[in-house]
Symmetry: C2
Subunit: 335 residues, 2 copies
DNA sequence: TGTACGTTTGAGAGCGCTCTCAGCATTCTG
DNA sequence: CAGAATGCTGAGAGCGCTCTCAAACGTACA
């Protein structure tokens, strides 16, 4: 069984270099190529990635960094959806995907990632305004694509959505259906999405001449925290709540129901993400569809494109969002 | 900046071999070790993993294979929990984790995994009775630990639970509270867990002298399918349903409520897994706690132990399960 | 026929590390 | 005190691949 290029070379009567050319698509005469391919066909030869990497500096392996706390990973299928999109693209075009989760501190994780030196590039979720892991990756010479981005990531490649605009849109929808005492359970403050969605909420409220501060309460993107803080919002007698994501909305709904109130009659409810949970709630949730799977796909494509053509400058993709209106805000709808 | 072992060797006035010994814990005099470590401290030297791998055949990278369809990955936090447990252990003791999902066929995935040749070993979920991916990994020379196992995996290392016993236990619980027309929505048939839980259900029913076939209906571990098939079970006028997992129970609950029936008064309901969703349902779900996170931890530990000491024979771990009784079967309970 | 050029191929020098082997110094044993 | 055992170190041979360089062989043109 042929194990190395030299074995193949001997079997097909050419040099190692020529076999390498056949495998990697270098210039080889048709006849030689055919002969070598025939030999390869007959063996189960697999190139040794370590050797290739050592010689060429490339591995075909891409890193995916999602430095999130376990509870968030569980609670919110956002990351799973993202991962799925990324892996769809990588499975086709890269030879492997290394996953880095939030098991260790960001500093340690950064150190490991750079220390491995086995990846051609990384995709990293940039949730936080202040994030040494993202900073470190951008500062390194490892090609990096961000999912989400901070205003400071001027020269980075990223895939993102317009959080401010989308939050404005959904808040405006609540205003349009006649609500005036509209609460907002924020995402984790300090996170890009959390802060930006708050900005969008404020913008819409102010434009409508409504109080933009009184009904804001801090959440952290998780359902349990929403269950807790939603009660405080109800004490303020709100007639609508815009939640920073669907998991938060699911928690708020729980609290609203427990208080004996009706959605949407007493309190209209809206989320953000449009993950499967949104359509499974009772009533189904009005939310912002942000195409998480698409974000995964786009970020992986951007990274691969960056690797193929490093000279092409940073890749920047801003994906569209869509307001999905369901019965949690407009009760009469079917579906 | 020191980039290679030779750089370090020159800087500290010893040979490359000695520096390598310091880094890898070989026999070196205290003084030399101290001097070399001092030099290393001053640089940000990182060993080149590709070179190390090429020379030693080891990489410190471990593969995790979860060949599941995307909907399942979303629906069921089982896999996320598993991944979390695995990564907790690997983050400490291995240098990286490659993830392989179900983006391609099992044959192709197998080919890629073996082709990469970059992993010291793999952990693979062995869901299916018939699984070419698992067969291929076991037949290869890549050290492999299964999560779940088939009866045919006689010589393999695995981490598993007693599905039959646990299903018997939960079914017996339904019998104990006085139910006689107990339905079962199976997991995906063809899967080890699905089949074994059915066996456990049958065993308990037969022992109690109840009809073990009439109320069995096929599901596939997903919530949507459960919503659909639960209706058929209700037509048979069941007074309890044992669902093959929590996601299935969540779907069944939806259907039972939609039919205007009360849980547990009219229909008692039980699941399997004890994922977060179980305690979030209304009423909270009686289920089998199987410690998914622990399974992840155990499987990773088993693999690392296998890598450290290949002579030690296969590692086999059978984890305990626990019946968790909540209001979906015993209405009067608090909590 | 001679020169120039393009195409195809092979030789060989690494890539950065591990690991064996041998050499030397030192200590222990009888 | 000879000889054996032990501890530490350096030299050097790979691991399997890529990639540059130059050779060899046409072919085209003057």
């Amino acid at each position: 069984m042929a194990r190395t290029l030299d074995d193949l070379a001997e079997l097909s009567g050419v040099s190692r270099a020529t076999v390498s050319r056949v495998i990697n698509g270098g210039p080889v005469s048709e006849e030689t190529r055919r002969r070598v391919l025939e030999v390869i066909e007959g063996t189960n030869y697999r190139p040794n990635l370590a050797a290739r990497s050592l010689a060429s500096g490339r591995t075909g392996v891409v890193g995916v960094v999602m430095h999130v706390e376990p509870p968030v990973l569980f609670e919110d299928s956002y990351f799973v959806a993202l991962l799925h999109g990324v892996s769809d693209v990588l499975a086709d075009r890269a030879s492997g995907m290394m996953l880095w989760l939030g098991n260790r501190s960001k500093e340690e994780t950064l150190d490991r990632i750079l220390g491995t030196g086995l990846m051609d590039g990384v995709i990293v979720t940039a949730d936080n305004l202040d994030d040494p892991l993202v900073d470190g990756l951008l500062a390194s010479d490892l090609p990096t694509v961000l999912i989400g981005h901070r205003r400071s990531d001027l020269t980075a490649s990223y895939v993102d959505i317009d959080n401010i605009g989308a939050a404005d849109t959904v808040t405006t929808h609540l205003i349009d259906i006649g609500r005036t005492r509209i609460g907002h359970i924020t995402g984790r403050l300090g996170s890009v999405a959390g802060e930006d969605r708050l900005v969008g909420y404020r913008r819409a409220m102010k434009r409508a001449g409504l109080d933009a501060d009184r009904f804001v309460i801090e959440g952290d993107f998780t359902r349990p925290s929403a269950i807790e803080v939603a009660a405080k919002l109800l004490e303020l007698d709100v007639d609508a709540i815009f939640c920073a994501n669907d998991a938060t909305a699911s928690g708020a709904l729980e609290t609203i129901k427990a208080a004996g109130l009706d959605v949407p009659k007493d309190v209209a409810l809206a989320g953000f993400d449009d993950l499967p949970v949104a359509s499974e709630l009772h009533p189904p949730l009005t939310t912002i569809r942000q195409g998480v799977h698409a974000q995964g796909i786009e970020s992986a494509s951007a990274l691969l494109s960056l690797l193929e053509n490093p000279e092409g400058g940073p890749r920047r993709v801003l994906l569209p969002t869509e307001l999905v209106i369901r019965q949690s805000t407009v009760g009469g709808l079917s579906g």
